[in-house]
């Protein structure tokens, strides 16, 4: 059974350490420990309605150390990076950055329920890592076929329109320095693992 069904163990070392872990994995001063649960973030979030936990709720879970519940949550993946929560937070918590952190942690630990969003990011990154540039057509088609085959028809006219208007490339541009870029990214990943 998951720890959601039992009363959350508060303030044991492992609990605090999850909060600390999230803070540590977030660049700059995230101020996460300052959350007063006011809900400004949840109220501001444009996709908040579809999240299983509001950002505020998620922070309470983090503080309570309910790691699995947090990393399984769809909340970070529904974040659209509009930064409303970040600029409105009365405690100046870098909420959007924390959402990125939670995504990374979830991917590391491979504990997300719905793989749509993670896969989207992965597909996107794939093109970037191999070509150095993003590639919408490939991205969208590959992603849609995998996760929303019928969606293809829904927006088919859009796809057609984009193509007829010449707004969609059929093959991605590859940058000249792709090998250099690959070297850079690999090195960066090494360093990250090392850290």
């Amino acid at each position: 059974m998951t720890e959601t069904s039992v009363s959350p163990p508060v303030n044991t070392i492992s609990n605090t350490s999850f909060l600390e872990k999230v803070i540590a994995a977030t660049p700059g001063e995230s101020h996460l420990e300052l959350c007063i649960q006011c809900g400004t973030c949840g109220g501001s979030c444009p996709s908040g309605a579809d999240m299983d936990h509001t950002p505020r709720g998620l922070f309470a879970l983090i503080t309570a150390g309910m790691k699995d519940t947090v990393l399984k949550s769809n909340t970070p993946w529904f974040c659209v990076s509009c930064y409303y929560c970040t600029v409105r937070c009365p405690q100046e918590i870098h909420i959007t950055d924390i959402m990125y952190t939670l995504k990374r942690l979830a991917v590391q630990e491979k504990v997300y329920d719905d793989s749509t969003a993670p896969d989207f990011s992965k597909t996107f990154i794939n093109w970037v890592e191999n070509y150095g540039r993003a590639f919408e057509l490939g991205l969208m088609s590959m992603h849609m076929l995998k996760h929303n085959p019928f969606g293809v028809f829904k927006v088919a006219d859009m796809g057609v329109g984009m193509i007829t208007k010449g707004r969609m490339a059929f093959r991605p541009t590859r940058i000249k320095g792709i090998n250099g870029l690959k070297a850079i990214l690999n090195k960066a990943k090494e360093l990250e693992v090392a850290a």
Partner: protein, 327 residues
Amino acid sequence: MKYSYFPGCSLEKNAAAYDVSTRAVCKPLGIDLVEIEDWNCCGATEYISLNLLASYSLIARNLAQANKNIGVDQVVAPCSACYLNLRKTDKYMHESPDLSKKVNTALAAGGISYQPGSVKIKHLLDVVVNDVGYDTIQAKVTRPLNGLRIAPYYGCMIVRPEFGASAGNGKPLDNTEYPMILDKLLQVLGAEVVDFPLKAHCCGGHMTQISESTGFEMIRQIVKGASDYNADLIVTLCPMCQLNLDAFQGGMNRHFKTSFQMPVLYFTQMIGLAFGMDAKALGIGDELVNARSALAKIGVEVPEPETPKQKRPTKEELPMPHMPKEG
């Protein structure tokens, strides 16, 4: 004025119109764009979601490339996401020597390096309204956009989060909740600007791919808002916003059984039109929601839209709080 130009992936193809119109209007505005050599994708909001250091390195490579433009210390990005990513990386590297060290170790593997703060990163709109200035622009207007009701749409990442004076990146660009610079620009071009409450709300970013209904709802809100305010068109400054509001408008209409027909153009295209440039040369026609009917309004001579007379306040009516002077 020389700037290193970072078009970003969108402007390569789906937002080519933005690129074309940008280059077209930069000439008369005296903005000299030097494209960053062999630039790469900024990772949008995706790379950072999987890999922290790699995404900063990915972005930093562009800044390093920008430094190859000798004597040009300012980078201009027309895409809000690119703008934010470049600024953010520069800021965090500037604040954390440790991060800066790591990123540079990674860059070294590609034989390059970047010193945080060594370039100023600006959004194209910032350059146009602040470096060039409203007056210069006004002086060049030959075909004022009279009678065109425009909903100015900023989206998120140009105003949020406010990275302020980070790494010498200057003062706040505009208010994070209710920006005005685009409104002012469009007024200068002669348009009738809608006081658009959703001007800085979110277009949904990649949501259409993650959760269609969520994405469509966010698009609907903005398109509906614009039409509620009887706008002829939405003008934006971000390729992602344009893509969502324009290309997905049809899908959105089908999803909600609505029939909005709200054209979405780039502010550079509006400048170009006001400067009397040819619509085609500004990439107009690429948009999926046809903008011609809206633009017809300025093709022909339309009389000054007489502003409704201030009705005398009734004697019960309470005064509105007066707003502070523009400063």
